[in-house]
């Protein structure tokens, strides 16, 4: 029983990471109906920025985190403006292919400039273990929970209580109507990418700290799994991404612990297919029918 709860703690750490990444997917999908294939790679870039800040510039953890978040956010906006905006009215397939192109660009760009070898993330946080109710929690795990929680609360505040947040919700619902109401849709979309990419960047730094290694391909699998999480929770729906993220994190950890670590990925993809077939709107989402 102890192992189960111990695994739950590990699952919650992983879940926090997935939730942070999933939030970016879900916000972007909610606003422009695009699956941003490149999102997982922004998470990877965030990790590398954090690594560079700590390793080459000697920054502490929090400054590095904030820098990574800021630069990732800017990268997200840049990508949106250059690659996605021109295709606002193109077919869905065209935008998806472009997103794949951007993803490849980021991966191979990083491969080219940094090389393929796995790098070791500097241990800037003293990873002491705490004992709580017979279970072990590491300082880093607490840091991940805390950071993720703070960021999610911040996001919720921005979306619910600020004018920009209201604009985001309006554009998500009906972008033409929002435009007629005087909302600058372009800025709202860019801001959405800004927020989502910042969260992904944060997740990247946290993961670097937690697992200790980073490499240019690290965004591929977590990116896909975070997307599964977003769909599971209900794509386009912020609480859904959080719910989905934690669910997938826990499921993956438990399968890994009690089953076979090799089939762990297959289980997550299996969940994706099941959800898409049985309830594509996700746990918390709503289904919208096409008007004929």
């Amino acid at each position: 029983m102890e192992t189960f709860f111990q695994q739950m703690i590990n699952g919650l750490s992983l879940g926090s990471i997935y939730a942070l990444i999933a939030l970016g997917y879900t916000m972007v999908y909610g606003i422009i109906k695009l699956i941003n294939f490149a999102h997982g790679d922004i998470y990877m870039v965030g990790a590398f920025i954090g690594y560079t800040m700590i390793h080459s510039f000697g920054m502490g953890f929090f400054p590095a985190l904030l820098t990574a978040m800021a630069l990732s956010a800017l990268l997200g906006v840049l990508i949106e403006r250059i690659a996605y905006k021109p295709l606002r009215h193109a077919t869905r397939i065209a935008v998806l292919i472009t997103a794949i192109g951007v993803s490849y660009l980021l991966q191979n760009g990083m491969l080219y400039f940094y090389g393929a070898e796995v790098r070791s993330f500097p241990q800037v946080v003293d990873n002491t273990l705490f004992e709580v109710a017979g279970l072990q929690v590491s300082r880093i795990q607490l840091l991940i929970f805390a950071t993720a929680l703070v960021l999610m609360v911040l996001l919720q505040f921005i979306v619910q209580k600020t004018k920009m947040g209201k604009a985001m919700r309006a554009v998500s619902t009906d972008s033409s109507a929002a435009q007629l109401m005087g909302i600058n849709v372009d800025n709202v979309i860019s801001f959405t990418f800004f927020l989502g990419s910042a969260l992904a960047g944060a997740a990247g730094v946290l993961v670097g700290l937690y697992y200790n290694t980073i490499d240019p391909m690290m965004g591929v699998a977590p990116g896909l799994k975070a997307f599964v999480a977003a769909v599971l929770g209900g794509i386009g729906f912020i609480p859904g991404a959080v719910l989905g993220g934690f669910t997938i994190g826990i499921v993956e950890t438990l399968v890994s612990a009690y089953g076979n670590s090799m089939i762990r990925d297959a289980v997550v993809y299996g969940i994706l297919i099941l959800i898409l077939i049985i309830r594509p709107a996700g746990i918390l989402g709503k289904h919208v029918k096409e008007k004929v």
């Binding site: 699956i35 690659a83 869905r92 794949i100 490849y104 491969l111 090799m262 299996g270 297919i273």
Partner: protein, 321 residues
């Protein structure tokens, strides 16, 4: 009964001429052993691209799982030819691969082809990954992550050439027929097509299965030529490689896929020494094409013998008139 008409003869001539030219190049050594690999890679890519184009370009279903089907074909043929290292064995292997892949495509297709655009893409991606993970986990049969080696080298390039021509013929015959038109109608407007009596589920599934079957053939030939296959050969990267060819050539153009596979095959040879920079160039090109010319090289038009004939007739008519 126009079984043999000018167009058919024209295409036959092109196919045979192509073969003779290649044979000449190989015999005279223009195509050395090194370049033969490029030739075979191009031929197999044509098979893969034409099949994927059938799914994406003609039936309008965005499938990102092509590598998964290729893997099934490769491993099936690889395993069977290891036990039966003869040509019969190879054909049996290809047939078994096609049948197995078709069954998987049917099972996967029926529930997932209901999904729209992006969701279908992700679902097929997930399926391909699951297939790959299953292959890695069937240690005893597939030798797991280490891959299968020692596959007898049976598919020499002329055999691959024949399969390439047959695949193009199969897909072209299908798309330019009544069921093919019905399939294209689904791509144009699924709801209107359904209202005109087209059984959309059936035709989407047929296109999906046909495409998957061609991927299996490509995979089988790949295994039999290169003699070594690893699960890592059939990742999402492979699916994207084929997608790049389809996009460059024009989504919905068979000849476009052929031309793109050839051009990109040559480009790859030149860019080989550039390593990761090569992929950066492709990624930029992919983004550029989508923004500036999303229809690709040929759009959804075909470079056809009948088209050439029509052009020729028009010119000579003008000359006489």
């Amino acid at each position: 009964m126009k079984l043999i008409n000018k167009t058919t003869i024209g295409w036959l001539v092109v196919a045979i001429a192509g073969f003779l030219l290649l044979q000449l190049a190989v015999t005279t050594g223009i195509i050395s052993a090194y370049y033969e690999i490029t030739l075979v890679t191009i031929l197999i890519n044509i098979i893969l691209a034409v099949g994927l184009n059938l799914i994406i370009g003609f039936s309008g279903q965005f499938s990102l799982g092509h590598a998964g089907f290729m893997a099934i074909g490769a491993y099936t043929a690889g395993i069977i030819t290891k036990y039966f290292p003869t040509y019969t064995g190879l054909f049996l292997g290809i047939l078994a691969g096609v049948i197995l892949t078709s069954i998987v495509a049917l099972i996967v297709g029926i529930p997932t082809l209901r999904l729209k655009g992006d969701y279908l893409a992700i679902a097929t991606l997930g399926v391909a990954e699951i297939i790959r993970i299953v292959i890695v986990n069937m240690q005893s049969v597939t030798n797991g992550a280490a891959g299968l080696s020692g596959i007898p080298y049976l598919s020499k390039w002329p055999l691959i050439y024949v399969f390439t021509v047959l695949t193009i013929l199969l897909v072209a015959n299908y798309t330019q027929s009544s069921p093919g038109r019905a399939t294209i109608a689904i791509r144009e407007d699924e709801i209107a097509a359904e209202s005109m009596g087209v059984n959309t589920t059936k035709y989407k599934t047929i296109a999906f299965i046909l495409g998957a079957a061609t991927a299996a053939i490509g995979g089988a030939l790949h295994a039999s030529y290169f003699s070594v296959i690893r699960p890592g050969d059939f990742t999402f990267n492979k699916s994207v490689d084929v997608l790049i060819i389809v996009v460059f050539g024009g989504i919905g153009s068979i000849t476009g896929s052929v031309v793109a596979a050839i051009l990109l095959g040559f480009l790859n040879v030149f860019l080989q020494p550039f390593g990761a920079l090569r992929m950066i160039i492709y990624a930029l090109a992919l983004i550029g094409i989508m923004i500036f010319k999303p229809s690709g090289l040929l759009g959804n038009k075909e470079f056809t013998v009948s088209g050439l004939l029509r052009l020729f007739n028009r010119k000579s008519a003008q000359g006489e008139g």
